[in-house]
């Protein structure tokens, strides 16, 4: 991690340069340095492990010790995090997940939260970049300053040492040692604080080892090992040049960052390497302090920016959320709700146009409501106005009909026709009024818990005369003796009566089977006939208003063509399903499914729509049904439904 750099271009001549010269030379790279820029320094750092004293930017050292500190910090943090994760993972994980989910929910739901968080993130990111740049610059400058000082001091001291050595009287070894040591100790500087430390080492591979009276010497406990080998090599290989390198040296128990500056001195024919080591500890401390201040400043600034963002977004978002609240109220039917409009800014414009929209919406809805009320009034009035004369006509027709035996054949037949057609007219009018009540949305469900099996029995009793007329037998299959269903019995009675009458009408005199079954949530009544049946296309249209399977076919029971439409509406009112299955020549099956309790949703019908006595292959091909509600999935699984009840043969 150390790169020694050659300080100055080496002059060809051997004699050591004078001090002013050296100083002048020193200045040059200093002033030229900053132009090299930061990226090169980083590149130097990256290339550093190669360790060669390649001439490059003199500032390569700066990131080195900081990187080392950061690495150490990172290692500590990693260790702590790892321990936390290991010990508390099981307990913290659910809480963290909950927290994350809460934050995620906030993120999705709150524009303000999202804006503030984004602003904070961006601010912190920018601070990190700016902070890194600033602290890098400061560190660089601090280092450069210290380096310049170290180099000039070294030059001066080395010169002093060399001068002392040159002028020394070499007599005996002990006086020489004392001289050398005194000279070197003087290098450390005066006062209680050591200004610089030295390492004094004889160059290896000297020709005259016996003349070496002084081997090596160093301040404190330092050894030659604190000097990076690259630096030593550079010093050894060169002539009289001065080199430097970053290093680390022990003081007491800690390792301190430092700059080692090396040169050669000659004493009594022996060449020594002299390294002076300058402590960078104070610079490092200053840097640390500056970084702490930067960090604290950034944190405070980030908080302030967060607060500002919160305030600003609150100002912008609060009208928007006000608008959201107001529009929710509008949607819920509180049409008189309006936004508060202040000023003339964009928000005020939004409020004004929102209010305008709400006003026109309210106007339209009121208009529609008025129209609907008028429609209802109309239906009600028509009902009354038509029914009163119809009652008179009907009574008169019946009086005539009762007395028809006294008439001549022409009048008798006329009385019969009049009576029958008045009846038909009456039922048509009743159905029309019923449908228009559904269309006007005034049909209300009057649901009460009632036994549907009993109701079906009533219906069967009621249609007995019609069944006898057609010669059909109506059978009931209700394994559960009684099923209490929350329903409007008048409407269900009407639906079932209609289904059974239809079955009789199209049943060709064959039996009509009625099945009743329930599961946990729903009850189903299926009315199956074995008559002419119907095709897929017919089954799809069977609930349409005024639709007839065969227009040419005589309508014997005098239905209005609205019966199944009314049944559909009645079923919808119960949140139920009314579905039809048919196959040409094999009869048809109508299934009514109702929820046991109003408000429940039906998941599947207790009875299958497609009768069990129909071959599955053919049945699937020919099967037709009409789904009134979103019953697609249920209906598809119906034929193989496990709880499907087998119908009576």
């Amino acid at each position: 991690m150390v790169s020694a750099t050659k300080q100055v271009p080496e002059p060809a001549d051997g004699p050591p340069g004078t001090a002013p010269e050296t100083a002048a030379r020193l200045d040059r790279p200093e002033t030229a340095g900053p132009a090299d820029g930061q990226p090169e320094a980083a590149a130097t750092e990256a290339a550093a492990p190669e360790g060669q004293a390649a001439p490059s930017s003199p500032r390569g050292q700066t990131p080195l010790f900081r990187a080392r500190i950061w690495t150490r910090r990172a290692r500590i943090v990693t260790a702590r995090v790892a321990r936390l994760v290991r010990t508390g993972a099981s307990r913290i994980l659910p809480a963290t997940r909950y927290l994350l989910r809460a934050v995620h929910r906030r993120w999705r739901r709150s524009l303000q939260f999202r804006t503030v968080l984004t602003t904070l993130m961006l601010a912190i990111g920018s601070f990190a970049v700016v902070g890194a740049y600033l602290s890098n610059q400061i560190a660089n400058n601090l280092f450069q300053e210290r380096l310049a000082q170290a180099e000039s001091e070294t030059r001066y001291n080395v010169k002093q040492v060399q001068d002392t050595f040159d002028g020394a009287q070499v007599t005996d070894q002990s006086s020489v040692i004392t001289l050398v040591y005194d000279t070197l100790n003087a290098v450390e500087g005066r006062g209680s604080v050591i200004q610089r430390r030295y390492v004094f080492e004889a160059m290896p591979e000297q020709t005259k080892p016996r003349n070496r009276w002084v081997e090596s010497r160093a301040s404190d406990q330092l050894t030659i090992s604190v000097i990076p080998p690259e630096l030593r090599k550079a010093v050894q290989d060169s002539g009289k040049d001065q080199f430097w390198a970053s290093t680390e040296f022990p003081v007491g128990t800690e390792d301190r960052p430092g700059i080692a500056v090396g040169n050669k001195v000659t004493f009594n024919g022996t060449v020594y390497e002299l390294y002076l080591i300058y402590d960078l500890n104070t610079a490092q401390k200053t840097l640390d302090e500056i970084q702490n201040v930067l960090l604290a400043g950034a944190a405070a600034l980030a908080l302030m920016i967060g607060a500002v963002a919160w305030y600003v977004t609150r100002n912008v978002v609060s009208p928007v959320s006000h608008a959201a609240v107001v529009s929710e109220k509008l949607a819920a039917g509180q049409l008189q709700e309006r936004m508060v409009v202040k000023g003339e800014d964009e928000v005020a414009r939004l409020g004004a146009s929102f209010n305008h929209m709400a006003a026109s919406l309210q106007e339209q809805i009121t208009q529609l409501a008025t129209l609907s009320q008028m429609q209802q009034r109309f239906v009600s009035d028509v009902s009354h106005e038509l029914r009163t004369p119809l009652t008179t006509v009907r009574m008169a027709a019946e009086v005539l009909y009762d007395a028809r035996d006294d008439f001549d054949p022409i009048n008798k037949r006329s009385a019969e026709l009049l009576y029958n057609q008045v009846e038909r007219f009456q039922s048509l009018l009743a159905d029309l009024l019923e449908i228009s009540r559904f269309d006007a949305g005034v049909a209300m469900l009057d649901a009460e818990p009632t036994d549907i099996v009993q109701l079906v029995s009533h219906v069967i009793e009621g249609v007995a005369p019609v069944a006898a007329e057609y010669g059909s037998e109506v059978t009931l299959n209700a394994p559960a003796g009684s099923i209490i269903v929350e329903m409007d019995d008048r409407r269900i009675d009407r639906i079932l009566r209609n289904l059974v009458l239809n079955a009789l009408e199209h049943g060709e005199g064959r039996p009509v089977n009625i099945s009743v079954a329930a599961n946990d949530t729903a009850v189903a009544v299926a009315v199956r006939d074995h008559g002419i049946g119907m095709t897929a296309a017919e089954a799809a249209r069977v609930f349409d208003r005024f639709w007839r399977a065969d227009p040419a076919r005589a309508r014997t029971t005098g239905g209005s063509g609205l019966g199944l439409s009314i049944a559909t509406e009645d079923t919808k009112l119960h949140n139920g399903w009314l579905q039809a299955w048919g196959e040409k020549g094999r009869g048809s099956n109508f299934r009514l499914t109702l929820p046991l309790r109003q408000g429940d949703t039906i998941t599947r019908s207790p009875l299958q729509l497609e009768p069990a006595d129909v071959g599955p292959a053919g049945a699937v091909r020919e099967r037709t049904m009409l789904l009134l509600e979103t019953a697609v999935t249920e209906a598809r699984s119906a034929p193989s439904g496990p709880d499907a009840t087998k119908e009576q043969p």
């Binding site: 009600s380 009902s383 009354h384 029914r387 009163t388 004369p389 119809l390 009652t391 008179t392 006509v393 009907r394 009574m395 008169a396 019946e398 009086v399 009456q426 005034v442 209300m444 009057d446 818990p449 009632t450 036994d451 009533h458 009621g462 209490i484 019995d489 008048r490 009675d493």
Partner: protein, 224 residues
């Protein structure tokens, strides 16, 4: 003796037709075409039953019903063109015993009239009790602690039907058959409304009935 029936209807053709049918079946119809005069005609003619159209010029049928009920227990049968829940229930609550929805058949109308005119004076002397209420069937008197409670004939019939078989739960259909005389399923709201009216007269606290109890999902029974 012919039973006299007051027909309150503004539609002259219908009133005349109803008159023909009623006369044909041996009743004595009296007519009134205006709601405002209905009470006067009622007082002067003293009918045995009132057939009342709900929609009338002047005072509307519901108000007329309330006025008549205010001074008499005479059976009232409404003629309604609307089968909307609210109108029927409002009519029944204002005191009508039964209703016939237009357009009706002559036989239907006559059946309803006959059912309400059933003579109650052939009943054998009989005293019934429900909770702390005593019913003198022959004397047509209902009392609690020798304090007389005034009931209309229909309400009286309803109470007697329940009191005669205190062990039985009556479905609404059964009550419609026994008390109103319907042979086929009819509007069960008739029962609901009249049970409410009956309770408001004989119960100490109509919210917590002791005489006529509701059996949820089935019907009603007499209290013990």
């Amino acid at each position: 003796m012919k039973a006299r029936i007051l027909v309150v209807d503004d539609d002259e053709a219908l009133a005349e037709m109803i008159g023909i049918v009623l006369r044909n079946d041996g009743f004595d119809p009296v007519f009134c075409a205006d709601g405002g005069q209905a009470l006067e005609v009622f007082r002067s003619s003293k009918p045995d039953l009132v057939l009342l159209d709900l929609m009338l010029p002047g005072i509307d049928g519901i108000e007329v019903c309330r006025q008549i009920r205010g001074e008499s227990d005479v059976p009232i049968v409404m003629l309604t063109a609307k089968s909307d829940t609210s109108d029927v229930v409002r009519g029944l609550e204002s005191g009508a015993d039964d209703y016939v929805p237009k357009p009706f058949k002559p036989a239907e109308l006559v059946a309803r009239v006959r059912a309400r005119l059933r003579p109650g004076d052939q009943k054998a002397p009989e005293t019934l009790r429900i909770a702390d209420v005593t019913i003198d069937v022959a004397g047509h008197v209902v009392s609690r602690n020798s304090e007389r409670i005034s009931l209309t004939p229909l309400e009286f019939d309803l109470l007697v039907a329940l009191a005669r078989k205190p062990w039985q739960v009556f479905t609404r259909e059964l009550l419609l058959e026994q008390v109103w005389g319907y042979r086929h399923a009819a509007d069960t709201r008739l029962v609901n409304v009249h049970v409410q009216r009956l309770r408001s007269k004989i119960e100490r606290d109509p919210e917590a009935p002791e005489v006529v109890l509701t059996v949820r999902g089935v019907g009603y029974k007499a209290g013990s």
